[in-house]
Symmetry: C2
Subunit: 213 residues, 2 copies
């Protein structure tokens, strides 16, 4: 459908499997990066586009399941598709609970992997889009002065200018000035607009604590 530069990463210590998988995925036009270990995967640079990770559960050293968790911890949210030759049910359940998109047992049908990969890339595309939009909002929020941030949240909470003024021991006109600045900097075209932006910016993760004011 869309023609973004998407990619698939493969991590498998078996060279013949890497080659077979890479060949399959390349045969449908996908860009493939194959690595024998998680370390090699981490060391290499990935393109800035939607992608996914095809990961062998059993790896020398760190298991695929552990690596999945590690990636989350590092803030790398690439969708993960597990493949395994010797898996068991608890393993697959753990993987799925941790957010794996698919858990395929060898031998699997080529089409099953291709379906999973395509779905994963679509998911990542959506996630990246959402992340980018949220990042931009957060940047704008960070560009506000502490006072402006404070007032923005009170406005979004439904407080009147005069109430905010009383709460902060300021004059109402001061609130108006800051408020106008908030609307401008946040590129909010209306109060409902600002409310939705505020809710997104304050949403988890990075729960709002008040300390960053």
């Amino acid at each position: 459908m869309t023609n973004d530069p998407s990619f698939v990463c493969i991590v498998d210590d078996d060279a013949s499997i890497r080659q077979a998988l890479a060949g399959l995925l390349r045969s449908v036009g996908l860009t493939v990066f194959a690595y024998p270990s998680t370390e090699d995967f981490l060391a290499d640079a990935r393109p800035d586009g939607p992608g996914c990770l095809v990961l062998d559960v059993r790896l020398p050293g760190q298991s695929g399941l552990e690596f999945q968790r590690e990636l989350e911890g590092m803030g790398i949210h690439l969708p993960v598709i597990f493949i395994t030759g010797h898996g068991d049910i608890p393993m697959s359940v753990t993987a799925m609970k941790a957010g794996a998109l698919e858990f395929l047992t060898k031998p699997f049908r080529d089409q099953d992997l291709l379906d999973a990969v395509h779905k994963a890339i679509e998911l990542d595309r959506d996630r990246r889009r959402d992340d980018a939009a949220l990042s931009e909002l957060r940047e704008r929020f960070q560009s506000l002065t502490p006072r402006e941030r404070e007032i923005m949240l009170l406005v979004a909470a439904g407080q009147l200018n005069k109430q905010i003024a009383a709460a902060l021991n300021l004059s109402e006109i001061t609130i108006k000035v800051h408020r106008a600045q908030v609307m401008r900097k946040m590129q909010a075209k209306s109060l409902p607009d600002l409310v939705r932006i505020a809710d997104k910016v304050s949403a988890t993760p990075f729960r709002f604590t008040g300390a960053e004011l």
Copy 2:
């Protein structure tokens, strides 16, 4: 922790397993309903409280996986914990993708089931609370007249009274009257409040189409 009347339903065609599971769950103070088949489960009335379903994957007739889907289709969102003696990985993956909370293989440790059940009940408690809150908002929204609903959504979209008036070919004062009525009926204490309510009411599922105006 909390002392709501919570319950666990068991569906397993093996009477001895039913008894064993029921005994285990009752031993920790849970209210248990055990059924030999999905039909019996559906025929019986469940208490109006948070609960979960412990479901054997292999059942005579309909499989547990099919039943899980059927429950979703019927709008019964009880968390499902699968147990099985003869499961495989694709089965567990399918179940987890369909939203199962846990997939235990026999024999499993009692504590694993108890942990899953307690977590499931907590989840259901939260879900029920959210559902109840949303239902109340939907009821209020339905108590609005068609005109009021229409104006509420335009207000929440950030349109000015005069813009709404122009769009609907009405006078501005008419909009004000309806708008005030909307705030009263929806129990919104401020415009940001109304915006959040509108977003919840219009959120999926039951996507807003405009036809219900």
